[in-house]
């Protein structure tokens, strides 16, 4: 089994980056997180727009997303900035993240006496965390410790022909190494339930797959009404797709062909290895937040139209579906799967992606990392996402 060099965390997980995170418990704390990030630019701020006015499923999802992002092995240490009166308490986040054994500290702005005092203390903590993290050295780790998250966004007619089938071969390789692959975007599985059920490890997981996809279909109809066909449709028939099943197959092919070992909820950390299905929205940035919180140290993102977005703490490899787009957006694209249209085989492109994945796991930067395409954390809500 091949090895890569990573950072071994106290809970035995392996990071491929050594980031120190600053997580606001609530959007009201973003300003202080920004002050700290400007004082110590090496810190990785996880800006987001939520944390209060949450209830029910949304509260559960948001707490889990923030806690599990903190637990992600790419984070060496975490500083939580709370306000004090919010619904999703900083204390809860700090305790949840600390269960992974990594260093965690909490500062509540109301207790610290305002923005400037909190930021000054926060910057001190971050500098100490960074000094400690800098003493960590990369050590050999097996690929079985790797979790690969998958995403496709801004798809075109060739995403399902070039980029997704190539990535599917890489997903199979990760599973064959004993690693974990997370396939999500439930709306893009509609029409393929019987195929995915057949690939489930047992009847219980098969039933969960069926329920998850049926729920996504029902929900899409509820939310969009007559417009549901925009999402649940072969798409543009000019693209050559003859049925919704064929279109969805082009999406799920990026998850490869292995047995489905577990179905997890949005942002949940799987207890099994191998191929995992995560219930989640099709919208790119919300989906990536869930995939990162589920523990992915690395993501592969296939795109036809060309989406440059990365993620604050997880390297994202961009795979372009056509040479035209790759050439036009070469600053953002890591791999040109469009070379298949010029005669390169799926296996050759899969091999290119696998080699890059191994290099990135060892520390090479992706284009999204170089471009600091970190964006703002978008967490899925129960109110209107599909």
């Amino acid at each position: 089994m091949k090895d890569f060099n990573g950072f071994i965390r106290p809970d035995g997980s392996v990071g491929i980056r050594n980031h120190v995170l600053v997580i606001p418990s609530v959007s009201c704390a973003n300003g202080v997180v920004g002050l700290i990030a400007r004082m110590v630019p090496e810190a990785v701020p996880i800006y987001h727009g939520h944390g209060c006015g949450r209830a029910g499923k949304d509260m559960e999802w948001h707490m889990r997303t923030l806690v599990n992002l903190g637990k992600n092995p790419n984070a060496a240490a975490v500083l939580v900035i709370g306000l004090g009166c919010e619904v999703i308490k900083g204390e809860f986040l700090a305790q949840g993240i600390a269960s992974s054994g990594k260093p965690v500290e909490l500062l509540n702005i109301q207790e610290q006496g305002g923005s400037l005092k909190t930021a000054a203390r926060g910057a001190e903590i971050i500098r100490r965390f960074l000094d400690d993290a800098a003493r960590e050295v990369r050590q050999p780790a097996p690929f079985s410790s790797l979790t690969l998250g998958l995403e496709c966004g801004g798809s075109d007619a060739f995403s399902g022909v070039t980029a997704n089938p190539s990535v599917g071969r890489v997903a199979d390789w990760v599973v064959d190494q004993g690693g974990t692959v997370i396939l999500t975007e439930t709306t893009e599985m509609i029409g393929t339930s019987h195929i995915l059920e057949r690939r489930a490890c047992d009847s219980q997981v098969a039933a969960q797959v069926a329920a998850m996809i049926a729920q996504a279909e029902k929900r899409t109809h509820e939310l969009l009404g007559p417009l549901a066909s925009v999402v649940i449709a072969p798409g543009n028939m000019d693209g050559g797709m003859s049925s919704i099943r064929e279109k969805s197959l082009g999406c799920i092919i990026k998850g490869g062909s292995r047995v489905i070992n577990q179905v997890i909820d949005y942002a949940e950390i799987p207890s099994q290895k191998g191929l995992i299905l995560m219930d989640g929205p099709g919208y790119d940035t919300e989906s990536m937040a869930g995939v990162a919180a589920a523990g992915s140290q690395i993501m592969i993102f296939t795109t036809g139209r060309g989406n440059p977005i990365g993620f604050p703490m997880v390297p994202v490899i961009k795979v372009a579906s056509t040479t035209q787009m790759f050439t036009r957006m070469e600053d953002d694209m890591d791999i040109n799967a469009g070379a298949i249209l010029q005669g390169r085989s799926l296996e050759q492109v899969a091999s290119d992606i696998r080699e890059l994945l191994i290099k990135v796991a060892g520390g090479d930067l992706t284009k999204a990392e170089r471009n600091q395409q970190t964006g703002i954390l978008c967490m899925s809500t129960n109110l209107g996402a599909f």
Binding site: V161, T162, P165, G240, S242, S243, E246, L249, G250, I340
Partner: protein
């Protein structure tokens, strides 16, 4: 000659056009198959790789994407007009 049709899975009985293929034009796959297109097959659309009978299952991605609603000859365009 450069290929102009890709076959994603070895079980597939349709391939995908990598360019607009004219009726009477040549279909060339990486597997070395070479035959004549009986229809115009637009860029990103499907072409039958073998002779198919009405009711036969059509495979793409190694999975069934539908059944032939009529007999389909090798080289025919496969879409909603002959697939159900």
């Amino acid at each position: 000659m450069k290929i102009n049709v890709i076959v994603i899975n070895e079980m597939d009985n349709v391939g995908i056009a990598l360019e607009d293929i004219k009726r009477g034009g040549e279909v060339r796959t990486a597997e070395g198959t070479c035959f004549t297109a009986l229809d115009e097959v637009p860029f990103s659309h499907k072409v039958a790789l073998v002779q198919l009978a009405k009711g036969d299952e059509v495979f793409k991605y190694g999975e069934v994407i539908g059944r032939c609603s009529r007999d389909i000859s090798r080289g025919e365009w496969v879409h909603t007009h002959n697939l159900e």
